[in-house]
Structures are given as structure tokens and as C-alpha cells.
Symmetry: C2
DNA sequence: CCTACCGATCGGTAGG
DNA sequence: CCTACCGATCGGTAGG
């Protein structure tokens, strides 16, 4: 009789989900296996049946997050390198990724703080390539005169990621302003520091176009 | 005979210094009292002679950092509200504070992630007032037409702090670019997204002034 | 996936 | 500021 070896409930997935939440909220060192076990509703040793160690669990959580990021990467790259050059599209893609689950931003920021060496390696694998691609797009825009020439393309891209990730990671501890207001300003911030204002008439330079919110 | 009760070495200060370093680098939960004791060169119970608990030590470390910040606050506020309106001065003051000791940025960011509730309270006490002051200055600049009218003053100030703190906190884990390049771009970023370019001739709008680097 | 257990380390105390 | 020690909790294992 071909009985399925694993029980109907996907415990493994629940372990990963709760671990992500707890690592993002309280940090890796601030989260015990006991905490995770209680959140999932199993006993502590059961976790170590699914994952060889607490650290292996941490790696898997991080890997899954970065894998999802790699899923949206092609779409982002396409938008960045397309002739139409939808810069706002790239920006929005990034913001959406972290905004739809702020734990991604918190997890990322914590890992960067806790394990700078390891994260540099991962950054090289997951973001370096498309930092370069977006930077290339920016350089072309600078040549065409649409973008500020004194912007540092690579540094600009890195600091924009920095701004988006940390603004979302710290969203409910920073000030009294609404999430929408802060996010809107982050988008304007990123856009306005890159694009030169569009002139229409020979007179006064114009205000930059407000962000196309849906 | 009036012998001084405390030994010549200021152990207490060394405890605070090493705690700051370790909390900033490995986090509060990632740092044990044993770690601190070894870094200072004393035995573990000696720490608890100077500070009632590990948490009290954490609070003191944070308080000292914020107190130093409060020392530079008046200078920052003066620059912000002066008629001359040295915006770059405020920016530079902020950057210098964190740049001369990146552990301040790391400590702050970790606390914001670890204790969002408590940090909101502290933010209200230490930064809210001058976020308002700088925002007022920005509003005046907007009325005069020197600054972009679509900028959200309060959100702008908050996100600028966000950008500065996190770019410095994550400086050696983010990419291959030099600290100088990243910091320079952060300053340009903040400036360019707020100031409208200065027109000089009736023709083409000009590049914004490069930052006055000393 | 559980019960039962392990040595190591945690923050903290007694007592000097 | 130290030695000696505490109960609690840590990540992890044995064995089923």
C-alpha cells in the first residue's frame, strides 16, 4: 500500500513561515527554538527533524526570501533595460516586494547587521548584476541629458535600495506619519534626485511630474 | 586617611565603551555578559556591581548615545532656523555624528528593529521637535520657490535621517563602493531631491551646485 | 513527530 | 572587584 510518508499538514512550511516572522521581529539570537516550536504548535525536537540545526533553519529562511526576490528580478531587469525605460516600474517593483511583506526588509537588514561578511557574498550573487544593469541605464539617461549628470549611478542604486529597505523595515517605529505618506515621499525622493525637471515652455522650469499613483 | 573608594582605572567607562561596541556589532541578544567581561578584562560579576542588570546596561548605553546627540542638537537647530538657512550644515552635522562613530548608527537601527514601541517614545523625545523645526524651514523654502513644492516636509526629514543612518550602519556590508563615494551620493541625493535647480541664464536649466566639500 | 534527557551557557546572587 | 555558585534556558541528541 502506497501510503504517503509525510502527514497531511505541511509542518515544514509552517516552521519556515513562523521562523521568518520571528527572526524578522526579534532577530536570530533573540529567537529560541522553543519560541518557534510554540508558534508552530509542535515540540522542539520536531524542528530538528526537519532542519539539521537552528543555523540551517536560518539559512533556509534567508535563501527562500532571496529566491523569491530572484523571481521578480527578470521582470525588474526587463523594465530597467527596455527602450521605454520605465524607471518608475523598477522602483515600484522593489517597493512592492518589500511592502507586501515588511519582514523581508527586516530580515535583510538584520542579516546585513549581524553577518556583514556573509551578506556581501550574497549581495554579489543576488543584487550586484542588476545594480550594474540599472546603473548602465542611468548612464545612458545622463548622456541624453534627462538625468542629473552629477549623480553617481552605482552609488545611487545602492542607496535607493538602502532607503527603500530601511524605510519599510522601520516603518512602525519611525514617527507618527502614515505608511502611505512615507512611502510616497520615498518614491518622490528617489525620482526627484535622479531626474532633471522637464521644461515645457521657454520660461520658468517646471515642477517634476507627480508620481503616477494607480 | 581619605583614600578614594574607586580604583584608578575607570572600569565603568570601559564597560560602557565595550558594551556599545558589542551591542552595535552583534546585537543585545547576541552579546553575553561574558563577552563584555572578557573585552573589558574583568570577571562577569564585576559588571553587575556597576550596573544592576544586563538590561540596565543596555539602557545606559543607549541613553549615553542619545545624550551626545542632544549635545549637537542645538547647533543643528540653529543652523536650520537661521535666516541664512544653511541646509547643508544640518545635513553635514547629522552625517558627521554617525560617520565619526558608525556604532551609533548600528545601535540605533538595532534598537528600532528590536524595540519599536520603546523607540517611538524615544524618537518623540529626541528627534520629533527638530523634525518639526526643519520641516518648517522647508515649508518656507517651498513658499519662496527654492524647494520642490511636491516634497512632503516631515516625511522628507524622516526619510533623510533614515537614509543617513542606514547607509552608515550598513556601510561595510553593502557593495564594493568606497565609503566616500556612498556618503557623497547620500548628500547629493538628499540635496537634489529637495532643491530646485538654480537658473542663471534664461536658457537651459542648470546643473545643481556640486556639494561644497571641504 | 514524540518523551526524555544532555552538557553548556545564560543572567544573576551570596558573600567577602 | 573577586570566587563560588544558582536555577533557568539554550541548542541539540537518543531512541523510539
Amino acid at each position: 500500500m502506497a501510503t504517503v510518508p509525510s502527514p497531511p499538514t505541511d509542518v515544514r512550511e509552517r516552521i519556515l513561515r513562523e521562523s521568518t516572522r520571528l527572526f524578522a521581529t526579534k532577530g536570530f539570537d533573540g529567537t529560541s527554538l522553543q519560541d518557534i516550536a510554540e508558534a508552530v504548535g509542535v515540540r522542539k525536537p520536531s524542528l530538528l527533524y526537519h532542519f539539521p540545526s537552528k543555523d540551517a533553519l536560518r539559512q533556509k529562511v534567508l535563501e527562500l526570501m532571496l529566491a523569491r526576490w530572484n523571481d521578480v528580478l527578470p521582470r525588474v531587469l526587463l523594465a530597467a533595460t527596455s527602450s521605454q525605460g520605465q524607471f518608475d516600474g523598477v522602483l515600484r517593483e522593489m517597493v512592492t516586494f518589500f511592502d507586501e511583506d515588511p519582514d523581508r526588509a527586516r530580515l535583510l537588514l538584520r542579516e546585513v547587521l549581524d553577518r556583514p561578511r556573509e551578506m556581501r557574498t550574497l549581495m554579489d550573487r543576488y543584487v550586484k548584476q542588476w545594480v550594474g544593469a540599472v546603473a548602465e541605464y542611468i548612464k545612458k539617461g545622463q548622456e541624453r541629458g534627462r538625468l542629473w549628470r552629477d549623480a553617481d549611478p552605482e552609488a545611487y542604486v545602492i542607496q535607493t535600495i538602502n532607503l527603500i529597505v530601511s524605510s519599510i523595515a522601520t516603518r512602525d517605529s519611525l514617527g507618527t506619519l502614515s505608511t502611505e505618506r512615507n512611502l510616497r515621499e520615498v518614491l518622490r525622493y528617489a525620482r526627484s534626485s535622479l531626474f532633471r525637471p522637464v521644461r515645457r515652455s521657454p520660461g520658468e522650469p517646471e515642477e517634476p511630474k507627480p508620481l503616477a499613483e494607480e
